[in-house]
């Protein structure tokens, strides 16, 4: 197999961005636990969660954005592949969201004193998750494939702006315990540290690439399934006509 086929073909298991994802996350693990961090009371060493908890939300937002774009593409030109991509990116986004909420709850218990507070960002994230859960339920309730794809694409296009304004805009307008919200200083204020930023962005990028990889596998599997179904229907209609 040529170098081109191995590293620059997105379907190759050794595509450059898949390797990049692994190297980035390995770097984050090796440096994330050992690199120096600012000494802050209450936060203590948990400031390192910045490298692991926050990228979950980066990832979720990135995947929901990709799902949103594919929903628009589907409405412009209805192709089954666009619908599959839209729903699978939403699934991966939900998965990252659940991980973000769970890691956030554990971190909150250690620093804010409770697993769940009435912090607007927490509640907004929960509502955002419910909106996208409704998307999955809506899809499950429609039998006709074209109708399901079209209605859920419209739902997705409305869901994404709602999610972004809930999680990223509204908490900034009120009081929030989250850094960077409601007059709270962001993490950057404590640590304009270059090393921390490099680890943080590596983690975000690494997790996004990993999510894209997993989603691409799910999409390819669904596409294969679709082809098998179509072949089955074609052969059964031949039998019917006899």
């Amino acid at each position: 197999m040529s170098v081109n086929q191995t590293f620059f073909n997105n379907r190759s298991p050794l595509a450059w961005w898949k390797i990049a994802s692994f190297l980035l996350l390995l770097f984050v693990v090796l440096k994330g636990f050992t690199s120096p961090v600012p000494r802050l009371p209450i936060l203590n060493e948990t400031i390192r969660n910045l490298y692991f908890h926050v990228p979950m939300w980066f990832g979720m937002t990135a995947f929901l954005l990709i799902a949103f774009i594919h929903a628009i593409l589907y409405l412009r030109k209805p192709k089954a592949l666009m619908d599959i991509r839209s729903v699978e990116y939403t699934n991966t986004g939900l998965c990252f969201g659940v991980l973000g909420i769970l890691t956030g709850m554990f971190w909150a218990k250690a620093t804010w004193g409770a697993y769940w507070t009435s912090d607007p960002k927490l509640n907004a994230a929960a509502i955002g998750m419910l909106i996208y859960s409704a998307y999955i339920v809506l899809r499950g309730s429609i039998q006709d494939e074209d109708q399901r794809a079209r209605i859920s694409a419209v739902f997705n296009i409305f869901a994404f702006p709602a999610f972004v304004s809930l999680v990223y805009i509204l908490p900034r307008l009120t009081d929030s315990l989250h850094p960077g919200n409601g007059g709270n200083p962001g993490f950057n204020q404590y640590d304009r540290d270059r090393e921390m930023n490099i680890i943080f962005y590596s983690s975000g990028l690494g997790f996004i690439l990993l999510g894209v990889w997993i989603t691409s596998l799910r999409v390819r599997l669904r596409a294969l399934q679709l082809k098998a179904d179509q072949r089955f229907h074609a052969s059964s209609s031949v039998i019917d006509s006899h």
Binding site: P13, L14, K18, L30, R39, P41
Partner: protein, 72 residues
Amino acid sequence: MKNIISKLLFFFLLTLSLSVNAQDDVAMADGFRADGKIYVVIVVFAIILTGLFVYVFLLDRKIGKLEREEKN
């Protein structure tokens, strides 16, 4: 005059708050790191990460094979 006093007060309070933040007795995992055992945890996590990536890699290869069979 009032302006100068308020400025001085501001800087006094600012340095006070900074000195509170700059405490060196904040509990960090210094001892844990000093005995070197943190590296065990890091290696364990690195192994898990590698294992998961190998798993996804194999899944990718399997799907690739299915796709090639589908084509033929």
